[in-house]
């Protein structure tokens, strides 16, 4: 694998409704920003990887028509859509395209414009996940118990509730820890001009006052549905060194999937994953990416993490599964403030998905934010400590898809 780096990052401000732009204009906003940041034009780009959640904007393969807004005609353009991990998968596409030597400069762009759907895109879109699961089960035969269990799952939030309960039971974390994570993320987001839910000086008590949605999640725990897009420019070693003062080098990447855990598990009397907080796919992905990056002790070698955490419990779970903390201990470090901006393992300094969720773009934003931290361009939310190696995480599917990307300040 040849040396590859991220040399430009661009994103749009994330808001509940971007009525001033169409989805095509939104996407081109991010692309233009990334090209400007990299100091290149579309002419220099060899290929494009793009993606968003299908169905959320009500357009099939929107890249076909909005390609004209981002200069795709006349270029290789591949669309990737893997659900929540879409952004991470799109980033991997561009990274592999360059790392393979087949292209020198690649662009990865991902977006979501939830407000284009009549109902919240995530509601209708994810209802299809639930419905799909239902029909899947019906085709195999379904008992009443399983039918109720399926329909009660309620898409992402439903899965995350079960996951959080499993985690809390096993680790000893409490709902107060979830308040702390959410408050930290909202506080961090206040320092990130592109974030959606920005709440300066948000305290756990403020989150604790919000309404209970489904135990253990309060309203203040749940991510928003955002409009926004993000884009990175990836280049091979020579060009990266020429074009960029401090590129963010690719050290390792992997996306190992797990078995989906809704139906073939206990509900279905099957042999699938019983504990959605176990996350074997994440453990394996991290292991492979660390091996590629030559990292043997992530707890010491990783300086910063951007974790995909639409719900606060997931920041704790995935920090552990990525090997940043021992299993069941993440909340102890949280209590000590180690995941804060001036801590030893700053986590989601951008506010993360908990503060901003333009679903297709969310996992790409994690990669982008890690790159910004390494480049020293994060501005107000730049980590207090120097960032040499950072890990970006994406999560999707029925808690079974994972993308892990490790970036560093020097090449492999």
């Amino acid at each position: 694998m040849r040396n590859t780096a991220i040399i430009g990052c661009g994103q749009t401000p994330h808001r509940a409704r971007r009525r001033d732009v169409s989805v095509a204009e939104l996407v081109s906003e991010a692309v233009s920003a990334a090209l400007e940041d990299a100091g290149i034009t579309m002419k220099d780009v060899d290929c494009i990887f793009s993606g968003n959640m299908q169905g959320f904007g009500g357009i099939a393969q929107p890249d076909l028509w909005l390609g004209d807004w981002i200069g795709a005609p006349g270029k290789p353009a591949i669309r990737i859509a893997t659900g929540g991990t879409t952004g991470g998968s799109v980033a991997h596409g561009a990274l592999y395209a360059v790392a393979s030597g087949m292209y020198d400069i690649a662009l990865a762009v991902a977006w979501e414009k939830h407000s284009d759907s009549k109902e919240a895109g995530a509601t209708t879109g994810l209802a299809h996940v639930g419905m799909g699961n239902l029909f899947h089960a019906l085709s195999y035969g379904l008992s009443l118990k399983n039918l109720i269990a399926t329909t009660a799952v309620g898409a992402a939030a439903g899965v995350a509730v079960y996951q959080a309960r499993f985690y809390m039971h096993r680790s000893g974390a409490t709902i107060e820890h979830l308040d702390m994570v959410a408050a930290k993320d909202r506080r961090n987001a206040a320092k990130n001009p592109y974030a959606h839910l920005r709440w300066p000086n948000c305290q756990p008590e403020d989150i604790a006052k919000t309404e209970m949605i489904a135990y253990p999640f309060r309203y203040g725990h749940v991510c928003p549905a955002s409009d926004g897009a993000s884009c990175i420019v990836v280049a091979e070693e020579k060009l990266a060194k020429k074009l960029c003062k401090k590129p963010a080098w690719l050290l390792g990447l992997a996306s190992y999937s797990d078995e989906e855990n809704q139906l073939q598990s206990e509900n279905y009397g099957g042999v699938g994953v019983l504990d959605p907080s176990e996350q074997m796919g994440c453990r394996v992905s991290a292991k492979k990416a660390y091996a590629m990056a030559g990292i043997t002790d992530p707890q010491k070698e990783i300086d910063l993490a951007e974790i995909y955490q639409p719900f606060p419990s997931q920041e704790l779970i995935f920090a552990e599964r990525l090997g940043l903390f021992d299993d069941g201990t993440a909340w102890r470090y949280l209590e000590k403030g180690e995941t804060d901006i001036n801590g030893s393992m700053p986590t989601d300094l951008s506010g993360g998905v908990n503060a901003t969720n333009a679903i297709g773009s969310s996992a790409l934003q994690r990669v982008l934010e890690c790159a910004l931290q390494i480049m020293g361009k994060a501005g107000e939310h730049q980590a207090a400590k120097p960032v040499h190696k950072a890990i970006a995480h994406g999560w999707g599917g029925v808690t079974n898809y994972i993308t892990v990307t490790i970036l560093g300040d020097s090449p492999r």
């Binding site: 694998m1 169409s22 993606g51 959640m53 299908q54 169905g55 009500g58 357009i59 099939a60 393969q61 929107p62 890249d63 076909l64 028509w65 390609g67 004209d68 005609p73 006349g74 270029k75 290789p76 353009a77 591949i78 669309r79 990737i80 859509a81 893997t82 659900g83 929540g84 998968s89 991997h92 596409g93 592999y96 790392a99 393979s100 030597g101 087949m102 879109g125 299809h128 996940v129 799909g132 699961n133 029909f135 899947h136 085709s139 195999y140 990447l253 996306s255 190992y256 999937s257 797990d258 078995e259 989906e260 073939q264 394996v284 590629m292 999707g396 599917g397 029925v398 079974n400 898809y401």
Partner: protein, 382 residues
């Protein structure tokens, strides 16, 4: 390119309408066949890339249940949308990068679940064409066909001839769906009228199908396979959106062909290729594809048909499998073309084998009026 990549195994389903299996079962059976064909186990596979779209699959994140069926459980995996040839391209990148040695590429569409023509309509600009409500793949292609026919003096009979060639050839292909060994021009012209000038038999049928290809990097391919088929050239390009494009020219296909030929060092495709398997969803597209691939000059595509040059026993047989007019499992169609090309090179196309095929071309497309095109040049030998 630093590293070479070969195809070491393949399998496809019996393409049909109204398949009596779940999508997962359909895919699982083909994946198992492909591994058997390559003589490998799930443990040998490093990465898996699938191709399908949520709209055609009728659900969000449609690859969720596919992980187990394609054997991607606890493996590196991703899903490319659109045509299977794009998934192949992405898998190839992963292999060439050196991250993995063996990749499994899967593409499928179960057409009866969700009408593909409806999905094509949903790919149009939601602010303009979608509002007009009459633009879909059939109507847009009909306009394109009319433009082409008027400019180059092509008649409905010429289009029917293409359908006759494809559907007769398909009768020898065990995997094809629409097999009509005795079909003639009048029958094609007399079939149900869809959209002037298209009749039913000039349009690809709605199919349920799945295709799987197993790729390996050079060292691994030589170890695992006696007769690997090498990817000698590959290129993909996107064109302008429907409304801003000159529909008379498949510009992105021309570009893709040029680059793929360059990579494979092909100067005269008509002479150097043994077989071409192209994705023509409408009869007129086959003529336009001939021209974009450089098999003839613009407007001379019909001569290739009338002179029998692209017949199964012609100078350069095109679609001896019957092509997309005989079976069109949308996302899998491009990958089926790859498989058919591989079969011809390996001499495994029982019943419709073209003699002495050393090199073959496979073509995949996506978008209304073939907005995106991928060309792959395959070759046998060492």
């Amino acid at each position: 390119m630093a590293k070479r990549v070969a195809i070491i195994g393949y399998a496809q389903s019996q393409h049909q309408y109204d398949v009596q299996k779940t999508r997962e079962d359909l895919v699982f059976d083909v994946v198992r066949d492909a591994m058997k064909n390559a003589g490998i186990l799930r443990e040998d596979i490093g990465t898996v890339v699938t191709a399908s779209t949520d709209f055609l699959d009728g659900r969000t994140i449609s690859n969720v249940f596919l992980s187990m069926a394609v054997g991607a459980y606890l493996k590196d995996e991703s899903k490319v949308e659109e045509d299977g040839t794009n998934a192949l391209y992405y898998a190839m990148m992963k292999l060439v990068s050196g991250a993995y040695d063996v990749a499994l590429v899967e593409a499928h569409t179960v057409g009866w679940q969700f009408n593909p023509h409806q999905v094509w309509a949903l790919t149009t600009d939601p602010l303009v064409e979608r509002q007009i409500g009459v633009v879909n793949d059939v109507s847009a292609s009909a306009l394109q066909a009319r433009m082409y026919m008027q400019k180059y003096g092509v008649s409905e009979k010429d289009l029917a001839q293409i359908a006759v060639k494809s559907l007769q050839d398909a009768s020898k292909n065990p995997n094809a769906q629409r097999k009509l060994p005795k079909v003639n021009v009048n029958q094609v012209l007399g079939s149900k009228k869809f959209c002037e000038p298209f009749t039913e038999l000039m349009i690809s049928p709605i199919s349920d199908g799945c295709a799987v290809v197993i790729l390996a990097s050079e060292d691994k391919a030589k170890k695992l396979c006696e007769k690997p088929v090498w990817i000698q050239g590959i290129a993909t390009y996107q064109d302008d959106y429907l409304r801003d494009r000159d529909l008379l020219s498949l510009t992105s296909l021309k570009k893709a062909a040029k680059k793929a030929y360059q990579m494979a060092k092909i100067k005269n495709p008509l002479r150097e290729l043994g077989v071409a398997e192209v994705t023509a969803r409408f009869a007129h597209e086959e003529l336009m594809i001939y021209e974009a691939l450089g098999l003839c000059k613009p407007g001379e595509g019909k001569n290739l048909i009338s002179k029998g040059i692209t017949k199964r026993n012609g100078k350069l047989p095109v679609n001896p499998s019957g092509g997309a007019l005989a079976a069109d499992p949308v996302c899998a169609t491009g990958l089926v073309r790859v498989i058919e090309a591989v079969k011809q090179i390996k001499g495994e196309a029982n019943g419709y084998q073209v003699p002495k095929v050393k090199r073959a071309l496979a073509h995949g497309q996506w978008g209304i009026c073939a907005q995106k095109n991928t060309v792959i040049i395959l070759g046998g030998g060492k």
